[in-house]
């Protein structure tokens, strides 16, 4: 065990991944200190001005905005938008900090739920085989044949706007990969002699799945899951970008990017004038995805069969 930890620390890529993830966790945990909320709902991004146009980093809070807050009796905790403001005067920095929590929530909840569904269906399918397997796998195929983004969009359109709806859509169309992976490995693992031995002892089917099959097959799924956390967040962001995600002003990275939609090119003669509106949200998303991928790689290395014996 110690050797594995030592190995990981020697590996720059996994070290970077773990550090990045740690930074994001710290941001999420200390969000109230990094960006103290102004509203009872901390996910509501405060606006720094009424400007439609994004404003550059360091932009101070406009006087009329200050007046609004003061008249509402809100203490002004920060009077500069250090990453600039997005369309509509929303503070990019604030949105990103609190958006980190949103990202973790989306990633972890959707991945956990879809993994759970996938693992249950996949293991039942593989273990019992026969018509059940046939049925479940056909259903999986049908779900897989629908393009993910389109399906998720249609579903969110039907269910309505909102993060929870986005998550439902992500789960509904995100479990198939797990089902396939777990089914494949259970199909081979259930031929192992120790499974036969358990049956010979009279161990019940569900106990065999829970105590023998899953512990020996779940790890590739966990690797896949950890890598998917990043991509789930990207998809959620894409849905927000397309306008079916979080409600207006909600601290969500996708929303931050979608605010930049009309400003990406810049104004005539000043290409890239509003770079900050895309750059900061973009870099958060990229680093978040990268950190989970590196962590996933690390997990895979740990679970590499060549290292197995030492676990």
């Amino acid at each position: 065990m110690n050797r594995i930890i030592r190995k990981l620390l020697n590996n720059t890529a996994s070290l970077i991944g773990l550090l990045l993830l740690l930074v994001f966790i710290l941001i999420a945990v200390f969000a109230p200190y990094l960006a103290p909320p102004l509203f009872p709902d901390p996910y509501q991004i405060p606006r720094m001005s009424w400007d439609v146009e994004p404003q550059p980093p360091g932009f101070p809070m406009s006087d009329d905005m200050r007046f609004v807050y003061e008249s509402l009796g809100k203490p002004i905790t920060r009077d500069k938008a250090i990453f600039g403001t997005a369309q509509g005067g929303y503070d990019i920095f604030y949105g990103l900090i609190w958006g980190t929590r949103t990202a973790f929530r989306i990633g972890i909840i959707t991945v956990t739920l879809s993994m759970l569904i996938g693992v249950i269906l996949g293991s039942l399918s593989a273990y019992f085989g026969g018509w059940l397997d046939e049925l479940l796998m056909r259903i999986t195929d049908i779900f897989l044949s629908i393009p993910f983004l389109v399906a998720a969009m249609v579903l969110t359109t039907i269910l309505g706007r909102g993060l929870d709806k986005v998550m439902i859509a992500l789960v509904a169309f995100g479990w198939m990969g797990y089902a396939r992976v777990i089914r494949g490995s259970i199909l081979s693992t259930k031929e192992e002699v120790y499974v036969m031995a358990a049956k010979a002892l009279g161990v019940k089917d569900f106990r065999i799945i829970a105590f023998h099959l899953l512990p020996n097959t779940i790890f590739p799924v966990l690797v896949q899951a950890s890598m998917n956390i990043g991509s789930m967040v990207v998809t959620a962001a894409a849905l927000s970008f397309l306008g079916v995600g979080a409600p207006l002003g909600y601290a969500d990275w996708g929303q931050m990017v979608s605010f930049a939609r009309n400003w990406i090119i810049g104004s005539p003669g000043k290409a890239g004038e509003y770079w900050y509106a895309v750059f900061f949200p973009g870099i958060f998303i990229v680093l978040f995805v990268l950190s989970w991928n590196l962590v996933g790689d690390t997990l895979r290395d740990i679970l590499d069969p060549r290292l197995r014996g030492e676990l």
Binding site: E192, V193, Y194, M196, A197, A198, K199, A200, L201, G202, V203, K204, R207, F211, H212, P215, N216, R308, G309
Partner: protein, 321 residues
């Protein structure tokens, strides 16, 4: 019949051969094809035969780990070949199995304590404290220090793992243990330790063994009776002494003569069989051994010989007798 623990009547196990996109069945592997024999209380029945002749399938079908295609299996006079899964669980305590590969037969992610206690847990026997105590006793009995019970299988050598497998089988106080090539994968010096352990346990716990092996020397040492299988059929079955003194079936004779003997002065006439074992999907007509048999006669390719009783307890399936 009166003192048989297990009695098998016309047991058949075919595996379907599936082909094509629709996985339609295009044929059958006749792994076990109408075999009948008894295993007497307290004895060791040795089952030999070459790879693929159906030894493991016979074992697994007796335990209902494979469903028999047809035929009957009686355990202490009760037909267990068609009872349902739940009813079968009751008999699992009495019928245990030890496998060949000491590496794949133990779950790599389980502590050996839990591996050995698994049967007890499955049948809700003993409370958890007495279970641990029992595991300790079992480990001690099979020659592994009880304080190793919190270790994982990979921390043990092949021979030790096989001992753990034995302890697992013993935990439920079975009446019979099927040893499917249980010593075949072990090194010479370890193999004799395990064989001796089997012998000791037999008298201590009054066990009945079905001892499957491809090594006739091991069979000769451990068995009371010997059964020889060829392509899904039992071709000869006899008490050990009679079998080795008076081997009758031409295949069994060739098998005995092929065993290398660790004695450079041991001279004998070796019968070399031509060709390979045919596929069980498409066994030869008549006597399944006839394409390789030196004594083949006209009738052999036409009529399948029955397993005939020659002497007291000596059965042969060959037209010569």
């Amino acid at each position: 019949m009166n003192n048989s623990l297990i009695s098998i009547k016309n047991l058949v196990k075919y595996f379907p051969i599936k082909k094509g996109v629709f996985r339609s069945t295009v044929g059958w592997i006749k792994a076990v094809d109408k075999i009948s024999f008894d295993i007497y209380n307290g004895e060791t029945l040795g089952l030999v035969g070459e790879s693929g002749c159906g030894k493991s399938t016979t074992a697994l079908t007796i335990l209902r780990l494979e469903e028999p295609t047809s035929g009957e299996i009686f355990f202490q006079g009760e037909n267990i070949s068609s009872i349902n899964k739940k009813q079968m669980r009751k008999y699992r305590k009495d019928l245990q199995i030890i496998f060949q590969d000491p590496y794949s037969s133990l779950d790599p992610r389980m502590k050996i304590k839990n591996i050995i206690a698994e049967g007890l847990a499955a049948h809700n026997l003993l409370d958890s404290r007495t279970r641990v105590q029992k595991v300790g006793e079992l480990l001690e009995r099979v020659g592994i220090p009880p304080d190793y019970m919190d270790r994982f299988p990979h921390e043990f050598s092949g021979g030790q793992r096989q001992r753990i497998g034995i302890a697992r089988a013993l935990a439920l106080n079975p009446k019979m243990i099927i040893c499917d090539e249980a010593v075949s994968a072990l090194d010479v010096s370890i193999r004799s330790q395990i064989i001796n352990l089997f012998k000791e346990l037999q008298s201590e716990f009054n066990l009945t063994y079905l001892f499957i092996a491809h090594d006739l020397s091991v069979i000769k040492y451990i068995s009371d009776r010997v059964a020889v299988m060829y392509l899904g059929k039992i071709v000869e079955i006899a008490p050990k002494d009679i079998f080795f003194k008076n081997t009758l079936h031409p295949y069994a004779i060739a098998l005995v003569s092929a065993v290398p003997v660790p004695n450079p002065d041991f001279k004998r006439k070796r019968i070399l069989l031509p060709g390979d074992v045919p596929s069980p999907a498409n066994p030869p007509k008549g006597c399944r051994f006839h394409p390789r048999c030196q004594k083949v006669m006209e009738i052999c390719s036409q009529v399948e010989p029955e397993l005939k009783k020659l002497d007291k307890d000596h059965y042969v399936s060959c037209h010569l007798y």
